[in-house]
């Protein structure tokens, strides 16, 4: 059923802002202009209320109680898993593992699947634009296994060099893990093409979808990715919860990542039989409130629709791009044709830290530094960091005007 009808004209984004209480805060005496959405998004009232509703009404441990509360909590927990399944169009709920977030999901794959798949002399491919979360686990795996980690190069526009990639895949390649949308450049990578090439060599592909989930519709069956991880807190949900999707055949073949309660079917002093999917990977009492409220965040996004979110964010992006052009002396890092609503930049001759400090003083929240992609910023682009303004649909054109005025102020103070 297509519930995402074209309600394009009907969304009043100014009104929608009222659902985000934090946006009424003042910083340094000014109304906050929050442009650090790629780090974490703000939360709507529905999400905030759902957290306290859980603790007020149904708090109980899942999957083990015979009593009503436990049954209600379990039902809400599993309903949320089902919402997450639909959100990314996975085949079955068994393929949806609740994890702490993207980092946790990737570590699970690297430790469990990576450990059994990658051996001495093998190769793992990631890209030069990976977040540390999708770099360090593979670096560590390759060090442990005496395997080689290879990086898909990035061109000056901040796009993956796909032809180079195609010549890197060979019979030694055991795993490929790439970022769907770059957190520091905004580039949307051609992951379908990467997956197709990888699969022609029978190589499984992991996608870091942390920056994709809030901005675009994800369809794991259409993508045919083998694993995909994303975080709740970047898509209007709570922190400490995320989803790892894995194809059932892979998850079945993998040993557990952690051992303990919940993930077992039966335990004797001599032997343990592990639980079925996805519980095999959910050791210990999970983040029940987080998992349930992730479902509320999914509801929120679907109420708006990715299409409406995308259109609004592209309007904000092109508005900002034009203003940045007028300011002058700005170098944008990441000018891919296909990108999400973020601008990573430096003002020529000014350290990102100085820019960020002054903007903060004007009530404008941006991110400065490496954005957890130190090799990309430092080694590939040879910069001491960038300033990153990442937009969400609740940002306004007036806020972007303030950002532009702030940058002009920075220039006049520092140049």
């Amino acid at each position: 059923m297509n519930t995402q009808t074209s309600n394009m004209e009907m969304i009043d984004f100014t009104k929608l802002r009222e659902e985000f209480p934090i946006l009424t805060r003042r910083i340094s005496g000014e109304p906050i202009a929050y442009f650090d959405n790629a780090a974490t998004s703000q939360k709507p009232l529905s999400v905030i209320k759902a957290i306290s509703e859980y603790y007020e009404n149904i708090n109980s441990n899942v999957h083990r109680g015979i009593h009503t509360l436990s049954e209600e909590a379990t039902e809400a927990y599993e309903n949320s898993r089902e919402k997450a399944r639909k959100f990314i169009n996975a085949q079955s709920a068994g393929e949806i593992v609740f994890v702490k977030g993207t980092t946790d999901g990737i570590n699970l794959v690297a430790s469990s699947f990576g450990n059994k798949t990658v051996g001495e002399g093998d190769e793992v491919i990631i890209s030069e634009m990976e977040h540390h979360s999708n770099l360090v686990p593979w670096q560590n795996l390759c060090e442990r296994k005496n395997a080689t980690l290879k990086y898909i190069p990035v061109n000056d526009k901040g796009e993956l060099m796909i032809d180079e990639f195609k010549s890197m895949v060979n019979e030694k390649t055991k795993l490929i893990s790439v970022v769907y949308v770059s957190n520091s450049l905004g580039t949307i990578n051609p992951v379908s093409e990467i997956i197709e090439t990888a699969h022609s060599f029978n190589v499984p592909v992991v996608l870091d979808a942390a920056q994709a989930a809030p901005h675009m519709k994800i369809d794991v069956q259409k993508l045919d990715c083998d694993f995909l991880a994303f975080s709740g807190h970047k898509m209007y949900g709570p922190t400490g919860i995320g989803i790892l999707y894995g194809k059932e055949k892979h998850l079945e073949s993998m040993p557990p990542y952690q051992y303990g309660g919940e993930m077992i079917k039966s335990v004797s002093y001599d032997k343990t039989v592990f639980n079925v999917l996805p519980y095999k990977f959910e050791a210990g009492t999970p983040n029940i409130a987080g998992a349930i409220v992730l479902g509320t965040a999914v509801d929120f996004i679907e109420r708006l629709s990715h299409e409406n979110i995308h259109n609004r964010e592209m309007d904000l992006l092109s508005y900002a791009d034009n203003l940045f052009d007028e300011i002058g002396d700005i170098r944008i890092i990441g000018t891919a044709e296909n990108k999400t609503s973020l601008i990573s930049f430096i003002i020529n001759g000014i350290h990102p830290y100085d820019t960020g400090s002054i903007l903060d003083n004007l009530g404008i929240a941006v991110r400065t530094g490496f954005h957890c992609t130190q090799p990309l910023i430092e080694q590939r682009f040879r910069l001491p960091g960038t300033v990153r303004a990442s937009f969400a649909f609740y940002n306004t054109f007036e806020e972007i005007d303030r950002l532009a005025a702030g940058l002009s102020k920075v220039k006049s103070m520092l140049l």
Binding site: H351, Y353, D354, S357, I358, N361, T368, P384, M413, L414
Partner: protein, 145 residues
């Protein structure tokens, strides 16, 4: 030779200077001016040995003893950071290691700097102060006559 002021006297002077500004933007402008005026450090010191860890911008710091007093030199690739270092140097440089070791650095609270910096940036500030104090600890042993 200018007469030696105590650390507390120098702190009071800075607190006085900052009391002239009524908002943080003017304080920043002042800090930026200080940063631009900070004497350059020799390029030889711009390496990992002299780097202050924990700052978002790069900071290099060195100290040398002269006639029983400790003198600091520092640099950063960010101007505001340089301005803040300049304040720290103004307060601590030219004093006895013993005094530097025990300096409370209360002026940072009085001018509202610590409160104004995000925890992230306050960590960087603490890292700078620690590095400066570590030099003082290192040299205070040699200073015992």
């Amino acid at each position: 030779m200018t007469e030696t002021k105590t650390i507390t006297q120098k702190e009071d002077q800075i607190v006085d200077d900052f009391s002239l500004f009524d908002d943080w933007m003017s304080k920043y402008e002042y800090i930026i001016e200080l940063g631009k005026k900070l004497p350059l450090i020799d390029e030889n010191y711009k390496n990992e040995l002299y780097e202050v860890k924990g700052c978002q911008s790069k900071v290099w710091l060195n100290a040398e003893m002269k006639d029983g007093l400790l003198y600091y030199k520092a640099d950063s690739d960010a101007i505001i950071t340089k301005g803040i270092i300049s304040l720290l140097i103004e307060v601590l440089s030219g004093n006895k290691p013993e005094e530097i070791k025990n300096a409370e650095m209360d002026f940072l609270n009085k001018i509202g700097l610590k409160e104004h910096l995000s925890p992230n940036r306050a960590n960087g500030l603490n890292a700078m102060i620690n590095k400066m104090k570590n030099f003082a600890i290192k040299y205070s042993g040699e200073n015992v006559n």
